[in-house]
Each structure stands twice: as C-alpha cells, then as structure tokens.
Symmetry: C2
Subunit: 384 residues, 2 copies
C-alpha cells in the first residue's frame, strides 16, 4: 500500500514552521498524524509534537510509549512524563521542557479534553503568548498532495471492492448486520493479506453497510442501524469506508431490491443527473457555493425541492468529513488538489430515498473520480 | 438488552436543571446521550438539546433529521435548520430560537469543532453570559445508577463471551487480524440475534483483539496492530469491548501461548497479586490516589518498579476512559456507584508484558467485579 513519503512530511513541517517562526506545539491527534505520520492510540494521556524556536524538535509521550515510539517512529528526540494525571501534571513537565518563552504557536492552547483529560493551558504553563495555528493547518489540509490523492484513490478501490461484496450479499431475508459483518470480515482480511494500511485495533479496516437506510428509512439522509431485515422492493442507501494510512474515500450507492417501478426509475434518474450537474460544475475557480447552487437549480427546475434534504458534499481526507463544504453557505474558492464527496440525494418520505456518493479530486481542468463504481440503475438493481 | 428507563433520564435532566436555573444548552454528543438517550450520527451539523428558562425544552437538529427524530425519539418539541453551514449559520438560528436572554448554562460555549465544523459561540449569538456546566455534568457521570451498572454488567458479559472466542481462535500461525475479525463477526452477530443494543453503523458491536500487544510488543502498555502472526511462547495482552446502549465494560487478559517458563510464572503471579491489592484497596472513602499508591507499594516491596509502566485504572461508562483515574495524582474520593477498570500491569522489555483489566463497581462495602472471567495462569495458557 502507498504511504506518505518522509520528505513530504518534512516539507509539511517546514511550511508550518514558516507560519510559526517562534516554534510550535501540536496537540490534536489529526494534526500530529498530518505532520509526522506518527501512529498512536489517543487517550487522556497527552501526546504532543514540538518544534521549539531553538533546539531540537521532539515528541512528548507518556513514559510507557517511549520504547514503542523509538522502535516504530523516527523522532530523533523523545521526551516523556511518568503518567497522567501523575504527581506532576504532564503539562507542567511540558512547560519545563519548553523553558522560558515569550511566544509560541499551537494548534490549540493545551491538550484537548480527550477521554476525561483535564489540565492547564499551554499559555498558563509557559507564560507565553500562544498564537493559534488551527486555521493555518486546516488551510494546508484542504489541498491534497499527489501522495495524499494516491492514498485516497487506494481507499476508493477498497470501498469499491467492499461495495461489490455488499451488493452480492444483500438479499431478502438477511439483515443489515449479517451482511455488514460479513463484508467487513472478508474485505479487511483481503487488505491485511496485501500488507499494512494503518491500524490501531487488530480488526480496524473496511466498513460497509446501510446504517438503517433501508426501505422508507432510506428517506432519512442519515439514519442509524437497527438490524433491519431486507424486504422485496426496499430502496437502499449504502455506505463504505476503508482508511489507507488514515486517508479516506467515501463511496455510497442508492440501490433497489427487485424490479424498480416507474416512480423509483424517476427518482433514480434525477439522482444520477443531479450528481452529474455537480461533477460538471466542480472546477478550479468556482466557489463551493456555486456547485451547491447549480445542484439546487437542478432541483428547482425539475420540481424536486420537496425531495431535497442535504447539500452536495464535503471535503474528505484524514477526516471522514472536513471543510470546505459543497454548500450554498461556503464561499471557499475551489482549488486543484481539493478532494470532495459529491452526493446530492433525492428523498421521499413515502417511497424512500436514493443517493450516490463519489469521491473526486479537483484537477487543473475539472475533476477526477476516485471511486470507480457503476452508477446506473441496472447495475444497482439487486435480484429478488 | 436492558436500557436506561425514561424516568431516570427525566430525573437526570431535573437534577441538571437545579444547577442551571436560567436554562441550559447541551452540545456535546455524550452529554446529549447521557441526558436524553437520543441516538444520532454526530458530524459537522450541530445537534443540541435545550431547556430554556421559559418555554418547552427542545432538540435542535438539521432539517433532514426531523422525520427520524420524530419517529425514533420522544422529544415533544423539535426545532431545525436547513443545512450546515447554510445561508444562515445554524448557530444564528439557535440564537433566534433562544431570543433575548441574559444568562444561560451550557456544556460548552458553542458546538465543538467536530469534522470541520466552525461557528460562533453561544455567547456571541445570544449576547448571554454562558455559565459552564461541563464540570457539573462530569460529576454526575462519575457516579453510576443501578440501571447504568446493569448496562455495564451486560457489556461485561459480552466482553467475556468475546474473550472466550478470542482465546479459542488464537493459535500459532494465524494473525491477530484474522482472529479479531472472526470474533467481531461472530460475537456481534450473536448480540444482534438477541435484540438491539445501540448501533450507529450496521456492523457496530463487539471488538476483541490484541492491538499489537504480542510477543515482546506486549511490554508496551499500549501498542498498535500490525497484522502480527502468533508464535510459540508469545506473551499476549488482549482487549475486548462490547457497548450496550453506549455503556462499556473493559476486559483484558495477559496470556501465554504454550507452557510458561518460571520467569513468565513469576510475572503472572505478580500481575494477579497486584490486581488483588487494588481490589482490596478500592472502597468508598479512600481516594483514587490511595488505591494507586497501594499498588505502587506492592511494586516497590517486590522490587518490581523497573517493570512498572502505568497507573492502576480509569473510570469507564459512556466513554471507554473517563475521570476519575486510579492514579497517584487523582485525589477524588471514591464513592459507591463509581465504576473503574482495575488493571496494573508488569512489563519487561526483553520478555514482554502481562496485564489483566477488570471492570468493577464500587459498592457500600467494597467492590463488585462486572467482568467475570478466569484470572489464573492455567486458564490463560493457550495450547501450542
């Protein structure tokens, strides 16, 4: 499986450093992963990555992570504290390591309140003026490098593989849980046979299922699972995910069990057409709002507004959802390298709903789809 | 499966209201679940529960959640906004619903930055003085009711079931991934056959595995998975989890593949004895620090400090880890109804590590173990 090269990670840190001449501290697990590709179990014990104004950069971990960090990561300097909360709070240890400083930058002013953590802010333990970096980091993360796109593409391939299994195993009389567990089992095992792809738990990997979006519940843009048993005529909205070294694609399909009637065909055609409107509108230089407005215009022109429930899509990468959003309220200008889901849906409370979600990267001239999978009704009609 | 009764939820809200006479807003997904047992997919679209000073309490959701909320929850009043970020930001809609107020309480001053969310604080959109409630909510959540203990006990039963399968399937030549996926598949399916237990995704349920804590890597108190293949003589530290309507027990065991040598026996005996020291020390009226100090005294008296890596345990409930911590730095006084993991471990970088984690509830006179599973070496020696 591909992975972010270490020189690209170094470039990311150098670029961040340009925005933080007085040095910086990263506390957010996603930010640490983005700038260092360090894999760890995040909990109430603070972990931080620090580039001080002077001196060597270091990672700051609980004592029991020192040996593992030395063995599994490439930090030249590792600092630690005995335990959280401990006799001396870890933030006090960190403050001591940083010494007397006037200014520093950080993604947040202290470790976030993960799993019961509490403690003093970085500004309190250092006396420094802490300049926020979160907006800058978010701006970096919005535009993906070629290596990041390759990881998302690989994730998209595994989503497609899992979706094929999901489609094959979904049939009248079985439950969403049975199908979902079977796909997760088989698809994750297949990934593991081909190499490492970034796990914390032994069974982390592919997810595929319906999250309750079955029958009339598919008219709820987000539902939750209830161990529902599939019935003839059900409309379905699937979901799949398969992180590759933390990077995610999203692939979802509207499907129907058994021969679709005219009303389902009508709905399905509009789902495909509305997604195509978004594909055509998404290109460098337009705003995210422009894309969503184009889709809403399609809904309006086709008298579909009673069936509209959600915006066109969202950014995706290290997080399953991230800014910017393909939404009438987001004026972000689209740039090459941004990765979005494109997923307008059509929902009818009586009939059910349908939605296709594909993950696309913005190129110089338009977009490229990273989740290759059939979108047509024939391919997405499941046999009775 | 048991579930929190609705009158208990109402009592929790009444009690919170006593601390918030000017009304309150809950934004944190865990807090909303704790006070209302509302199940939803948490993302960048804000969801809030509001009890205003005057007028009816309401839940605040994106428009596409309205139908589902009406169908699956019991809120007498549902308010909504079209979409996030939307033409009008959801926080502005919420501010309008709250009207002109001088004071209100909230678990945080606005919706947390989940999955790319950003927006103005509650204080800004209402002009109100927002009194923090997080500490109060945390104090409530630390002491579990009989109904909560019953859910954790049920979780503990499923952890034990999964651990039995994990033990049966773990053998030389197979990988942690294979075993873990097989157990998750079978044990979650068994849970689903017996009824609902609170899922978001179709395959959510039991987790069981090793998270890389295999062979010498078991000397790392927290490791991460690498698809490791089991070998003769491996020391293992397992982990299991099985949320029941959101409530968690934790069951972990130190194990060995094949006949243990004297050094492993020595380590194993100390693991069992140190856990017993904690069991004996944990009772109402002592502090969390007292319990951890008793365990550290055991380590010191037995020349085990070189093998010490982590504190005795942590609170557990709706979150996998939560305050208070059985740690020398936590002076919280132990009360009946508090639920803790008790899990001192012994770790040797050359040999590997061993740890048993059990979940216990503090009773009037001591503790009761909620994760019944063998702790002796014979039961935890896997055949070659």
């Amino acid at each position: 499986m591909p992975r972010i090269p270490s020189d690209e990670l170094a470039q990311r840190r150098e670029r961040l450093r340009e925005h933080a001449p007085d040095g910086y501290v990263l506390f957010e697990p996603d930010a640490i992963r983005y700038f260092t590709d360090f894999w760890f179990l995040s909990n109430e014990r603070p972990i931080a990555y620090v580039e001080p104004a002077d001196g060597d950069a270091f990672v700051f971990v609980p004592e029991f992570e020192v040996e593992r960090t030395r063995s599994e990561a490439a930090f030249p300097r590792i600092e630690s504290y005995p335990e959280y909360p401990g006799v001396e709070h870890p933030m006090l240890v960190l403050g001591r390591l940083l010494g007397s400083i006037d200014r520093i930058a950080a993604d947040s002013d202290g470790y976030p309140g993960i799993l019961g953590y509490s403690g003093p802010p970085l500004s309190a333990v250092t006396g420094a003026d802490v300049r926020p970096l979160a907006g800058q980091i978010d701006a970096f993360m919005r535009v993906k490098s070629a290596a990041e796109v390759e990881l998302i593409r690989e994730s998209g391939r595994w989503c497609a593989y899992a979706h094929r299994l999901l489609q094959d195993y979904t049939c009248v009389g079985v439950s969403e849980g049975e199908v979902s567990l079977r796909v997760a089992h088989e698809a994750t095992q297949a990934m593991l046979r081909l190499g490492e792809f970034g796990q914390l738990g032994s069974a982390d990997g592919v997810k595929a299922g319906y999250r309750g979006q079955i029958g009339t519940r598919s008219s709820w843009a987000h539902a939750i699972a209830h161990g529902i048993v599939f019935e003839p005529g059900d409309l379905l909205v699937s979901e799949t995910g398969a992180p590759v070294w933390g990077y995610n694609a999203e692939l979802e399909r509207g499907m129907v069990i058994g021969e679709p009637d005219d009303r389902v065909k009508w709905m399905f055609e509009h789902v495909v057409a509305a997604q195509q409107v978004a594909f055509d509108a998404l290109q460098p230089g337009v705003t995210c709002a422009d894309v969503d407005r184009a889709v809403m215009r399609y809904f309006e022109e086709n008298d579909l507004m009673p069936y509209w429930r959600q915006h066109t899509g969202h950014g995706i990468g290290l997080r399953n959802h991230e800014a910017p959003f393909l939404d009438v309220g987001d004026s972000t200008v689209v740039e090459p390298g941004m990765v979005f889901t494109v997923e307008p849906g059509v929902y009818d409370a009586e009939l059910g709903g349908l939605r296709h979600s594909d993950t696309v990267v913005v190129t110089d001239g338009g977009i490229e789809v990273l989740t290759e999978y059939p979108r047509d009704l024939e391919s997405l009609t499941l046999p009775l």
